[in-house]
Symmetry: C2
Subunit: 255 residues, 2 copies
């Protein structure tokens, strides 16, 4: 259910929500056009490792999808991230350390997939059954790729900053992810845009390109830019917006 | 000099020209907005092997650059292509056969670079000293990459459908191109957009990706799409247009 008051800024209404899923408390946020009525496309935004549901690029992407396209956007915190933590998840180092420990522990993937599915169920109850997209890089792909293959309501996805055997991680985690992606990547059928950073210090470019090759989708594109893991250029946010506009927006009246 | 009359269609004036360069007759075509006056950005278009300066995708790209951006565009026929031939170059098989023989003969690269330079000199005399871009895939990259590294007036380029050691070709040609690209690719300094077809039957994807890695430009992006050599999707023509708009168009008044 919604938690706290709606806040409006330059045409965008932002509202927090919280869900109980299999005993977990899942904090989220929904962005919509002010005074939105009727159904509209929805893009789910998965943040990266050590981040949270309202970090800068997530917020910027949500706002442009609302302002430019009239879409809704929503994000939830990842496991051990953001408002799932008592400290709000703003201490990136503390989140990183806990996540490193967690990687050798139980696999959080199925839980996060369940959290996203529950969020999507609840969101469609609020905004109606419009087309759905998913956008998530790095950890947003670690959880997002299994989610989009498990969730037939997602019609298009932007993924990236990840390889077929993610690093730098311990061997248990690497093997677990490799096995998961080896099943989930070929199972994709929806249009995909996959982003790679040529100088990624966390993901080997060959491994990222290998993951792109594994995707089963008949429509998939890979955009490779120079720069490190965190330096995805602004043009790719433009490209993400255009991608969702093409695939999720209703056809213009008369078209 | 111009040859024949200007022809106008939906806002685009097309006019043939012909130049004498080092004893070669170089046929070209210039597209401009109707009643164009004053200088404007110019994009040079290099067609692919067995094609010619006015084939479908060259014509379509020229027209959109003129209509959408107010740019000028120009193309010249490649060696043994188009109006360099008595038959006009419309028999693709005959062009292909001659080109295969030519590959084992003298290197045409320096001649084509000289032809492009002469064309650019003449074109700037006609339309003024505006910013210049280059677009050319496959054979348009074989000749275009050496051209853009040899021609400091070119400020941005779209290249692609080519690897660091092109195929399928004989060993002499392959070695010649490998040696040329090994020098020219690292010498690039301008912004580049590089297009790759994941299922290219003529260029191995690993070899295309390798060529991308060789480029010296600090700003370079690679767009990879599924499909064969000749199946570059429409979105990449959109991307080419946006790329040149960003890099060559004058800043809006007041910006």
């Amino acid at each position: 259910m919604f938690r706290g008051d709606a806040v409006s800024s330059r045409g965008v209404t932002q509202r927090d929500f919280v869900l109980e899923v299999e005993g977990r408390t899942v904090p989220g946020v929904l962005w919509q056009p002010d005074a939105a009525a009727g159904t509209r496309p929805l893009v789910l935004l998965g943040h990266g490792g050590s981040g949270h549901k309202r970090e800068e690029y997530i917020l910027a992407l949500a706002r442009r999808l609302v302002r430019h396209l009239g879409f809704a956007a929503a994000a939830i915190d990842g496991p051990h991230h953001g408002d799932r933590r008592a400290d709000g998840g703003l201490d990136r180092d503390a989140v990183w350390e806990e996540r490193q420990r967690d990687r050798s522990g139980p696999d959080m993937t199925d839980a996060m997939v369940a959290d996203w599915k529950a969020a999507l169920n609840w969101l469609r109850g609020e905004i109606g059954p419009g087309p759905v997209g998913y956008w998530g890089l790095s950890m947003g792909t670690v959880y997002g790729l299994p989610f989009v293959t498990a969730e037939p309501r997602v019609e298009a996805a932007v993924l990236g900053l990840m390889g077929a055997a993610p690093g730098p991680v311990d061997d248990v985690y690497r093997e677990r992810m490799r096995n998961r992606f080896a099943v989930d990547a070929p199972a994709t059928e929806i249009p995909l845009l996959f982003l790679v950073q040529w100088d990624d210090e966390l993901v080997a470019r060959e491994d990222a390109i290998h993951l792109f090759g594994l995707f089963g989708s008949s429509r998939k594109a890979m955009h490779v830019n120079v720069g490190r893991h965190g330096a995805v250029p602004a043009v790719e946010y433009d490209a993400s917006e255009r991608f969702f506009e093409e695939l999720l927006a209703p056809a213009p009246v008369g078209a």
